[in-house]
Symmetry: C2
Subunit: 175 residues, 2 copies
């Protein structure tokens, strides 16, 4: 039942957003009562937190992996890791996509926003050059919305093209 609730919530949050999904809707989709949701998860936000936990852990693991890498390999590894993570957790990305403006400071998101910032630093190579910083933000957004939206392309192709495109974006001439 608990799993059923999570599955329904993931599906509905991704389709209609967090704010756009009522507990009633989740309960109806999962085939249980609204009170049952609150029994398993004490709060609506707790459902969101649990849904985003695996993605957050993946992001933390990526962050740790990058730290252990020599600086010259970091950018490429950050891009590859980020793209793979975003593709694996497509629906979570879609949820975050809608949640970002409204609840960027919400504790339900955990450390995800902070690690997003660290990812930008990694992809910009730690540089203070505005070009690198803007480029890193662009990559973050590019992968974000491409994964959230439905582009009619097989996943493996999407993966490769995202990585290639992101590296192109970051590639400073005479760098």
């Amino acid at each position: 039942m608990r799993g059923e609730i999570l599955r329904s919530a993931l599906h509905l949050f991704a389709a209609n957003g967090f704010g756009g999904t009522s507990l009633h809707a989740i309960a109806a989709d999962a085939g249980c009562s609204k009170a049952s949701l609150i029994y398993h998860f004490s709060t609506k936000e707790a459902i969101l937190t649990e849904l985003l936990t695996p993605a957050g852990e993946g992001l933390a693991a990526l962050d740790a992996r990058l730290d252990a890498l020599p600086p010259e390999e970091r950018v490429a590894a950050a891009v590859t890791g980020y793209v793979e993570l975003a593709l694996r957790y497509r629906r979570e990305v879609k949820i975050l996509f809608e949640a970002t403006p409204t609840m960027i400071c919400n504790p339900a998101l955990g450390d995800i926003p902070a690690m997003g910032e660290r990812l930008v630093v990694a992809m910009s190579g730690g540089s203070r050059d505005p070009g690198r910083i803007v480029g890193a933000h662009m990559v973050l957004g590019a992968v974000f919305v491409t994964c959230a939206g439905e582009v009619d392309v097989p996943d493996e192709v999407l993966r490769d093209e995202l990585i290639a495109g992101a590296l192109r974006t970051l590639d400073h001439r005479a760098g």
Copy 2:
């Protein structure tokens, strides 16, 4: 008063999203009653529509301008025009950013989603190559979130770096 309402709504929608902003909040910020909002605009969505109209017209004008251009100039013009539009209507972009997943089919958005799709076609050069299509979606998202977020870079620099980065993203080696 009408202008005051629009200014408050633009500010609040951009900060908290459309769904996250109540009529009461707009009225309080504008210094009038909730009923006064409904007097000037018959509906909450009507406020949104009016707020997004200038940006939508700018997008339509860009679309028309691209149509009158020889194909080989279209991609660069699309990128430049899109970046300038997104920077000029930053707050509107931020509103759209949050609205996209939830109300993509909402009539309040007018033709904006459709013209977004046409922009993708223009930036992909009308190609069916997955790489070009993914690249165009990436540019759309990259400019979108970079303008919606607050990157600590002066506007002119941001403009130039966005255009340069986007062209890099789209630039396919060996045609």
